[in-house]
Amino acid sequence: MKTQNEALETLLAQDYEHGFVTEIESDTFEAGLNESVVRAISKKKNEPEFMLAWRLKAFEYWQSLKEPHWAHLHYPAIDYQALSYYSAPKTPGQGPKDLSEVDPKLIETYNKLGIPLKEQEWLAGVAVDAVFDSVSVATTFKAKLNEMGILFCSFSDAVQEHPELIQQYLGTVVPYTDNFFAALNAAVFSDGSFVYIPPGVRCPMELSTYFRINAKSTGQFERTLIIADKDAYVSYLEGCTAPQRDENQLHAAVVELVALDRAQIKYSTVQNWYPGDENGLGGIYNFVTKRGECRGPHSKISWTQVETGSAITWKYPSVILKGDHSVGEFYSVALTNHHQQADTGTKMVHLGEYSKSTVISKGISAGKAQNTYRGLVKIAASAKGARNYTQCDSLLMGTECGAHTFPYLESKNNTARVEHEASTSKISEDQLFYLAQRGIGTEDAVSMIVNGFCKAVMKTLPMEFAVEARKLLGLSLEGAIG
């Protein structure tokens, strides 16, 4: 008879389903990084002077930095000179003006990934910006959103069409001096998404970016900037995949969110970059800086992330709670399997009075994976009556994986209230047996238990994303139960 453990191991042998490569002619820079590469990227993008100046300053600063190694991560040194810093699918003349000009192969790629770009086919309610390697290939629903004054376009287009907004906000939440990877990104980022929601406007649909790394030996450095003006609201979704390759690929993105008075930004990520194979060969190195600033009173920023991909994840979506009564939230599911390593968490920096933050982190480790929660709650002297609630739960599958929790707390105001709860549990044989006795096979049972464990986070995801995320959790589980 097939035992539950055997069934579980079969479940483990699942392949990464987005591992295909698109054969497409690309315009790719030679490997290497120096000032002329930075200049060449800026020139390719036809950027105004202020952009180039900013990039060059960032590059100079980056050269003075050393790669950080304080995280609970182990990986061979990255050779920054062996990477190409720009790759774009070749298009005749300028970039595509509309979807009819986009290479059908690209459309097919996104269809394979389940991201239809054809507006008429797209289910109501989601506008998509698709980034393929270094450039944005299509932004849907742009015109319709424009009528409401909402700007949703590729970062490159924003630099051309709204340079004043870029100049005003770029680097104000994550300055190029922030950290090694943020500095690198500032110097060489090639595209990304830009969103501006004008005062009082509630964005009527989910805005979405889909990032896809395709080209070999390239780094992907995209930058996202979202600004919600006074009393605005936007919900933004981000998805990512990459082909299956034996070598590691670098992804170093920056996301900046700005919420003005009473504005709300909800940012959801399903990160499914190629995680490497079961022996730890290949996979994406994901070094991402994501931060939001609640600049105005009563503003709110929520991060929700479901992280199942990447060989290495280094990511701490954070909120600076500057406005009085502002709210920051971080809901995270990080699942690591085989040899994956994740060091992820958040920073909640309370500056405003009565600012409030909630952190719910669910880490799942299987195989030989290492999963670390690292979080900082900082209460400044000015943050009278600030409150934080943090809950970190770890679920272990098997005996060779690890779960680690590093909560940091700094409070300089004695009227603040901070709560922290943590737990570690295992999927038990008893649970699997109970469900099997009700006719539910191991695969479905594990998926049910894991989804139950993550429920508090999953329910914060927008509906269409939640379905995808739930499937992904089931698919990504490879590893044995000890």
Binding site: T3, A7, E429, Q437, G439, G441, D444, M448
Partner: protein, 254 residues
């Protein structure tokens, strides 16, 4: 026959628990299995349900003509074997509703039926809940999480009534129940008594058997059946205890 167990020997690790157990059950019969602590009652239920830690070292189990030992736990469940757990496990974050629906749909899939419509399902489950006097909020609570002992047992019977199995294994379903809950649970079990269905009631006490009247009563001791009789055996046990039956075994007369 519903179930034929012949000369069953079972161990956990090095420890032999069942040592040559025989049991035959016809469709429609209710068998009670009683016996002192450690005699192997729960082991028998777990082995029939397909728990992994138990090794069958000798003997055979035939269920509806199938060699049961060749089937995995979930396949057995889909073939109509249901165990009401002595200690139902908690599954945080998974709603009772979701579990019930998944279990029912797993069964329907096996029978090549489409997934049940959400409204139809609610109607069926509400009907069953009414019979068991279970509040509807039950559906939206996490499986067994924070349930009292009695609530957990009632939840088991709810699943039993919904899944309509052919062979029901009730492992100390009466423990942890107060008089009223016992009555409700017993009524639930009586509801599913059917000429095509067999029930094994594992219990320490007479009180459940006052409500669910067994056709055959067995006494299990040290891994073997040592006595068999009709319901009058239960009364004898209550009056005399297990002692006379155990002596019979040590005398080698079983």
């Amino acid at each position: 026959m519903m179930l034929i167990i012949k000369d069953l020997h079972v161990s956990i690790g090095d420890k032999a628990i069942l040592k040559g157990l025989n049991l035959s059950i016809n469709p429609g019969e209710v068998h009670a299995i009683m016996g002192p602590n450690g005699s192997g009652k729960s082991t028998l239920a777990n082995v029939l349900a397909g728990r992994e830690d138990y090794q069958i070292t000798q003997g055979s189990i035939e269920y509806q003509g199938l060699d049961l030992t060749r089937l995995s736990t979930d396949e057995r469940a889909l073939q109509g074997i249901f165990m009401s757990f002595q200690y139902p496990v908690e599954i945080p974050g998974v709603s009772n509703l979701y579990l019930l629906k998944s279990a029912l749909n797993a069964q329907r899939k096996k029978q090549n039926l489409p997934e049940i419509d959400a409204m139809d399902f609610l109607n069926i489950v509400r009907e069953v809940m009414k019979q068991l006097q279970i509040d509807e909020t039950y559906l939206y609570r996490d499986v067994n999480t924070g349930f009292s002992g009695g609530e957990k047992k009632r939840n088991e019977i709810l699943q039993l009534l919904l899944l309509k199995p052919s062979l029901c294994l009730l492992d100390e379903t009466d423990s942890g129940l107060d008089i009223d809950a016992l009555r409700i649970v017993a009524d639930g079990i009586n509801l599913i008594r059917d000429p095509k269905r067999s029930i094994i009631v594992i219990t320490h006490y007479q009180r459940l058997l006052d409500h669910v009247v067994p056709d055959v009563v067995h006494i299990l001791s040290a891994g073997k059946m040592v006595a068999e009789g009709d319901r009058s055996l239960v009364a004898r046990l209550e009056a005399e205890g297990y002692e006379p039956f155990l002596e019979k075994k040590t005398a080698g007369a079983a």
